[in-house]
Symmetry: C2
Subunit: 341 residues, 2 copies
């Protein structure tokens, strides 16, 4: 069943060139005339030659591999990000070696070593386990997405701006009190911007508000129990006023909406609600949920584009060391659906 392996010797014999010339065709084609390049290309076709990229990498040291460590593919955000990163192959030609994090720093270090052993030229990292200072010491270009990035380059959603947009919409909807529900996010991760954006907007607009930060559970059952409790707390504390709820993601927003809808058979005017992410659940909910859409395609493209620039610099005869880290923010998009006016 194996294809017959065509060797450089076979190609040399077929074309009457030397093996050295054939080798130069693969490793430094521009050192041959265009005519000779064409003769060899035709021979490869005639002989049904199967290129061996690994041999080429071995010769010139350029693997064309980019490593990725991603927390999971269960959350749509990560699955779609990986999808968009893979799609950059058509533009940039890099192939991806991918590991999903075990949320364990030792396991992730092992993955990192494996990636380095395969001579990846650069890395995109979304997993949180390994600190950015340790990553920076790997000696290859790295771009982080939505994680701590003090010592490495990054491309993130402008979380602060997203929160300002969402909070402003709830104010425009004449809500009397605004409530932001989130988990206890560390201040050094990009998504902390959602909390800052909410607080700054409420203070600037002098509107009554409450920030609820707590563990919101992981399983659907846990999330549902938390949201039930919070719903009881909110309706008890703020009766007969219009409540604007800003949830930290669409899964939480959907759970809260279901609780309200099952109780009232509709979303009453005294509740307005907005999520974050524009994940599929926001469009598939009992009422389509207003949300802040992350431009995942743009984030993925910017991350790869930045990484390619850094990797290209490394291939120059005298690469310039990177003097300042790049941190790019991509503006999110406010998506108005049926849970806001």
């Amino acid at each position: 069943m194996d294809q017959k392996k065509i060797t450089f010797a076979d190609i040399a014999k077929y074309t009457n060139f030397s093996k050295t010339t054939i080798s130069r065709y693969f490793n430094d084609p521009d050192s041959l005339t265009v005519k000779n390049q064409e003769i060899i290309a035709q021979a490869l076709e005639d002989l049904n030659y199967q290129e061996n990229k690994l041999a080429k990498i071995f010769a010139n040291g350029k693997s064309e591999f980019v490593g990725i460590i991603i927390p999971n593919l269960y959350m749509h955000y990560y699955a779609e990000m990986l999808n968009q990163i893979l799609n950059t192959y058509d533009e940039f030609g890099y192939k991806f070696l991918i590991f999903t994090s075990k949320h364990d720093v030792e396991a992730d270090r092992k993955y990192l070593q494996e990636l380095l052993a395969y001579r990846i030229e650069g890395m995109i990292i979304l997993s949180h386990t390994i600190g950015s200072q340790e990553l920076a010491a790997c000696g290859i270009p790295i771009v982080a997405i939505e994680r701590e990035d003090a010592y490495i380059n990054s491309v993130n959603t402008d979380n602060y701006m997203g929160a300002v947009q969402g909070t402003s919409l709830l104010i425009k909807n004449h809500c009397d009190v605004l409530i932001h529900i989130n988990s206890q996010v560390a201040e050094n991760v990009p998504s902390y911007g959602r909390i800052r954006g909410f607080l700054d907007t409420c203070k600037e607009r002098q509107i009554k508000h409450e920030l609820i930060l707590q563990d919101l559970g992981h399983s659907p059952q846990e999330i549902n129990a938390c949201m039930q409790q919070l719903f009881a707390y909110i309706t008890h504390k703020y009766p007969n006023v219009k409540k604007g709820l800003f949830l930290s993601n669409d899964t939480h927003a959907n759970t809260m909406l279901n609780i309200i809808f099952r109780k009232y058979g509709t979303l009453p005017d005294e509740f307005r609600l907005i999520g974050f992410d524009d994940s599929p659940v926001s469009g598939q909910a009992i009422l389509p949920i207003s949300t802040i859409g992350q431009q995942i395609d743009k984030i993925a493209h910017e991350a790869m584009s930045l990484l390619v620039t850094l990797m290209d610099e490394r291939k120059k005869r005298r690469p310039k060391p990177q003097t300042a880290l790049v941190h790019k923010n991509i503006t999110p998009v406010l998506i108005r659906r049926e849970t806001t006016d």
Copy 2:
């Protein structure tokens, strides 16, 4: 910023072994005594040696790469399948080179060539574009998941059994008429078993039924419009009887449930409803939806396990050619939630 590259010569000097001995350590370690292996391993640690797997592959031809072509990562089913395949790294050690299909046979052929150029040892294919006869001609072991598989090995959900389980539950719920809604599935793809399983069960149990096969749209808006139409058709044709709806997937089931729930403020007794896949939307719906759960973890593991057996055979001095294709079925699991009794 580059790490200092440690060469075989450095290791030889440090250990007082020859370069040939060092090379044998990497390519055929068992040809050395255990003691000498330990000395070299210690030296690698002392010298902070960064293994070059590409060099090793180049020497022994075993890339430890498995290629994957997957239709998309937008659908949770594919994202979770990829997740589970990636997770087999810890058990089998194979790394994955992944392409998402462009749903265009020429583009997918290009990806296939790229994978072969990187000397993948085997492939798992979920994309539909390239026929199995053409794939079989690649000359490497291939395992298909949920696609046409006449000429290649495959691991699939037992779609027929899943449909029998779902249909039987609706009969047990005393539905007067059963309706299966699906798109026009080709008879040679595994999921056609859902249609056969529904029809066979209804005929055997002599229950009134209708099979609706039509284009159900792709965007949420299109799916919603189709389901609105079907809901009107069904309620008009079957008034005052208990209707058991078996939808081909959970996204469709969720859309239908939302239409019913928005109209009645609940799921009335005259409707029972079941989906397929156990995708997240089934648990996050306004009422948790009963469904047929595909054991994605088992499918991924069986596919990789079969592929590893085939790849291992290839590495033997005298590999036995595969005499008969393997087609494995994994039994799905009936998940009873709130849309059935």
